[in-house]
């Protein structure tokens, strides 16, 4: 559930972001409280609070005093913008490293990526951003 690579509060924030992207929490919806997250995930409440706080700083969640934490309007767009920055280092570079180590040549890598793109486009063509 959590690994040792980064602080748990960072991993918790990433999990919530994934949940928002997948539509588990829609924009405007309430997310679990610090206490609920701490109890459910068996983590220190200060850690849970830091995870939520990080998303408030990033404008993904907002605190409504006395009620709880909610997903902001426009959260999905902000998440996508923030994540595209890490796309190369998090996904493309590891892919290239792995391709090298198993001896795939340039043409094969490009062909495989292209095939994967075609498959996912045909599955979810309605969700793909349009290119202009």
């Amino acid at each position: 559930m959590f690994d040792d690579s980064r602080p748990i509060f960072v991993q918790l924030a990433e999990r919530l972001v994934d949940d928002i992207l997948r539509g588990r929490y829609e924009e405007g919806a309430q997310v679990p409280s610090t206490n609920e997250l701490a109890a459910f995930l068996r983590i220190n409440p200060a850690t849970a609070g830091k995870g939520l706080g990080l998303l408030v700083e990033q404008g993904i969640l907002e605190k409504r005093r006395g009620i709880g934490m909610f997903v902001t309007a426009g959260a999905k767009g902000r998440i996508a913008a923030a994540r595209s920055g890490g796309f190369v280092s998090d996904f493309v570079e590891p892919l290239v490293r792995e391709a090298r180590s198993i001896g795939l040549d340039r043409e094969s890598v490009i062909r495989l990526v292209d095939e994967a793109l075609s498959r996912s486009t045909s599955l979810t063509s309605d969700q793909q951003p349009t290119r202009d």
């Binding site: 959590f2 690994d3 040792d4 690579s5 980064r6 602080p7 748990i8 509060f9 206490n35 701490a38 109890a39 995930l41 068996r42 983590i43 220190n44 409440p45 200060a46 850690t47 830091k50 490293r97």
Partner: protein, 301 residues
């Protein structure tokens, strides 16, 4: 006052051993703090001194702003559950709970009853005849239901099965949130308990080697592994906490954080690198370089 516990140069000498050696540490109020380190590192000595169950050779302790030895009012606020907690010979569960109810001003009978039920603690057997796990469970009941403003648990999980341990973690978090208080616990089950903690103190040979937020420690060290020559060359000038060598291979735990420059340099070599868990970090601080008398080749033949 932000600190529940403050020690200054706290030292305890047993004969020729410095069980605790000049420990100056502040423990934040209303946090769960883990006291980590190898056996004999000084964890139990520290807890005994802070709870006034032992006297320091030198140095100073303040608990909730007062010296615990001189103030009965402070002792009322403390609960210390030892890993080898002893009870009078004829005590059954009923006697232990009755004594605790008298002793701890914030005692919650409701919580105690719930815990006794969940841990399936025997009511008729005398406490001296309890199994290791049952003794631990009783300690947890007393420690949590005391709701003492400063509570110490010394390896509270010994002999408990996984179900009982998870139950302990759940109730600890639940009751801590409902009734915030300062909890200090020592543990060797670090992989299992690290996320319960907010602060971590690592102690080795009677001295504090780390005192930080658990999140800060996640980047406090890293490990590199590969051909010994290349690994040693990379480690040159850095503080190596522990090393593991077999044949021509070496794995080192190195203090500090990997920079992007380091990563790029390592990616160009065949040295692997990665994070260390809190468990591995504690092991690294407690590491002793010992030359094995038996070489690997000899051991195989």
């Amino acid at each position: 006052m932000n600190y529940a516990i403050e020690t200054t140069d706290l030292t305890r000498v047993h004969g020729s051993t410095r069980a605790l050696d000049g420990v100056s540490v502040n423990i934040h109020k209303n946090t769960i703090t883990g006291l980590l380190g190898r056996n004999g590192a000084g964890k139990t000595t520290f807890m005994s001194l802070v709870t006034a169950q032992d006297r320091p050779t030198s140095g100073r302790v303040r608990v909730l702003g007062e010296a615990p030895f001189e103030h009965a009012g402070v002792l009322d606020q403390l609960c210390f559950i030892r890993d080898n907690q002893r009870y009078p010979d004829d005590y059954s569960l009923k006697h232990a709970l009755r004594a605790a109810r008298i002793f701890y001003p914030n005692w919650s009978q409701e919580l105690a009853d719930e815990l006794v039920e969940m841990f399936r603690i025997p009511k008729k057997t005398i406490v001296k005849k309890y199994s290791r796990g049952q003794t631990s469970a009783l300690g947890i009941v007393l420690g949590l239901a005391s709701r003492a403003p400063v509570t110490f648990f010394d390896e509270p999980y010994l002999g408990l099965d996984a179900t009982a341990r998870h139950y302990f973690y759940d109730v600890l978090l639940r009751d801590y949130q409902a009734h915030p208080r300062t909890i200090v616990l020592s543990t060797h089950l670090i992989d299992e308990m690290d996320r319960l903690l907010e602060r971590v103190i690592i102690i080795d040979r009677g001295r504090i080697v780390q005192d930080a937020d658990v999140d800060e420690l996640r980047g406090a060290a890293f490990q590199v592994s590969g051909p010994a020559g290349a690994v040693d060359a990379f480690a040159g000038g850095r503080r190596v906490l522990s090393s593991h060598r077999v044949g021509g291979l070496a794995t080192l735990v190195i203090e500090g954080a990997l920079t992007q420059v380091d990563r790029d340099a390592l990616t160009a070599t065949d040295i692997e690198y990665g994070p260390v868990s809190l468990q591995e970090l504690v092991a690294a601080y407690g590491f002793d370089e010992v030359e094995s008398p038996v070489k690997f080749e000899e051991a195989r033949s």
